[in-house]
Symmetry: C2
Subunit: 211 residues, 2 copies
DNA sequence: TAGATTGTTAATCGATTAACAATC
DNA sequence: TAGATTGTTAATCGATTAACAATC
């Protein structure tokens, strides 16, 4: 499986989408699919699907296509969803609270283990089953529970400091929702979700659409 | 400004990031910047910055660089942020509520004008200043208020129907948060924010990082 | 003016698509 | 077996980078 040849970020970003479509096909009882059929559903080329999948291995069978469930599971494994990631959320504002209540994450193997904030008025109150913990307890909590992913849902003024602190505590991945890009030390992976950026892109597209 | 030559989606997706960095530079009182300096801050090539900007016009000056504030405003205009978009949110679950309370959208020219849900228990209650309206009132409300952007924050089982309904009501852009891709009629722009996809990509990167 | 830096063309690089031999 | 469809190589396309003349 480790083909040694570098897999491009473009390919990696497409994997969750394949995973999603294959999951839906599973749910609707489809057992096999060809790259051609899948390409039509997803509005991409069959060639691209075959190229993408072959970065990771030969999951298909000539003359037959792909077994939907097997491929779904394979992609899940490639994405590391079977690893049981432990996740914390830092920042219990509106967004942090919404994400803490989000059931879909756990369903995909991301287990929330703690929620933190620095506001004394919030600390101690509950979001569902999760008590909001004092950010001061981050060090102790992390040593004990060893989360590997942290969601950053704090204002941009605090985001950098929180990210750095988490990096030093051995966190391996950050999902950053704050309206700023964060620099993290080598070895920590960061994924940005800039909601305002998406709205702006949408605005551009509305303004410039052919019609 | 309309160069007629097609502007690639890659360029468009980078515009909000330029806008963000220029905004920060403005805030910190920087008045001019060269493509080289900006490229170092943003970890991209100076060449790419100049190429990107020149899709829209010559905003720089040889031997000087770019005026930060002017460029910031130009990119804002290119993105259509000066148009005063009216926005509605459909789905007042945890995510919908969080987005309704999100102050950053309004600051960038996206004015929330209504929040909708189909749950009788929610309808009539308030999120901040916004009453949750009955989804049945969507037709009347839209005719009267003419929102151009809708945020879809409903479960994936309802997302397709909501999107179609909104499309027929003349909505121009959709920001889709549901865990599914949505097909919309020609002329409606859709931008997906698949939070689970971002987590999965992050999971892959953690699993496969060099170290 | 001399120095700096843009705007833009040309070269390179990488990603996507097409084609087809291999094979189930 | 014949038909279908993969895996993979080769061709194409487009995006990024480099280079430099134009010019402030």
């Amino acid at each position: 499986m480790e083909n040694s040849k570098k897999i491009s970020f473009e390919v990696i970003k497409r994997l969750p989408r394949y995973y999603r479509y294959l999951g839906e096909l599973c749910d609707s009882g489809v057992t096999r699919i060809s790259s051609k059929e899948l390409s039509e559903k997803m509005s991409v080329t069959a060639s691209q699907i075959r190229q993408d999948l072959n970065c990771f291995g030969g999951f298909g069978q000539q003359g037959y296509g792909y077994n939907v469930e097997a491929l779904y599971n394979e992609i899940g494994k490639i994405l590391g969803l079977n690893r049981g990631h432990k996740m914390i959320i830092v920042g219990a504002g509106n967004l942090g609270r919404a994400l803490a209540s989000y059931k879909s994450f756990e369903r995909r193997g991301f287990k929330l283990v703690g929620v933190f904030d620095n506001d004394p008025k919030k600390i101690g109150s509950y979001i569902g089953e999760y008590p909001i913990l004092d950010i001061k307890a981050l060090e102790d909590f992390t040593k004990e529970n060893k989360p590997d992913i942290a969601i950053i849902a704090v204002p941009k003024t605090e985001a950098g400091e929180v990210a750095l602190r988490l990096s030093h505590l051995g966190i391996r991945g950050l999902l950053n929702f704050s309206y700023t890009d964060i620099k993290v030390p080598e070895g920590v992976e960061i994924e940005n979700v800039h909601l305002s950026d998406s709205l702006m892109t949408l605005s551009y597209r509305i303004k410039n659409k052919k019609q």
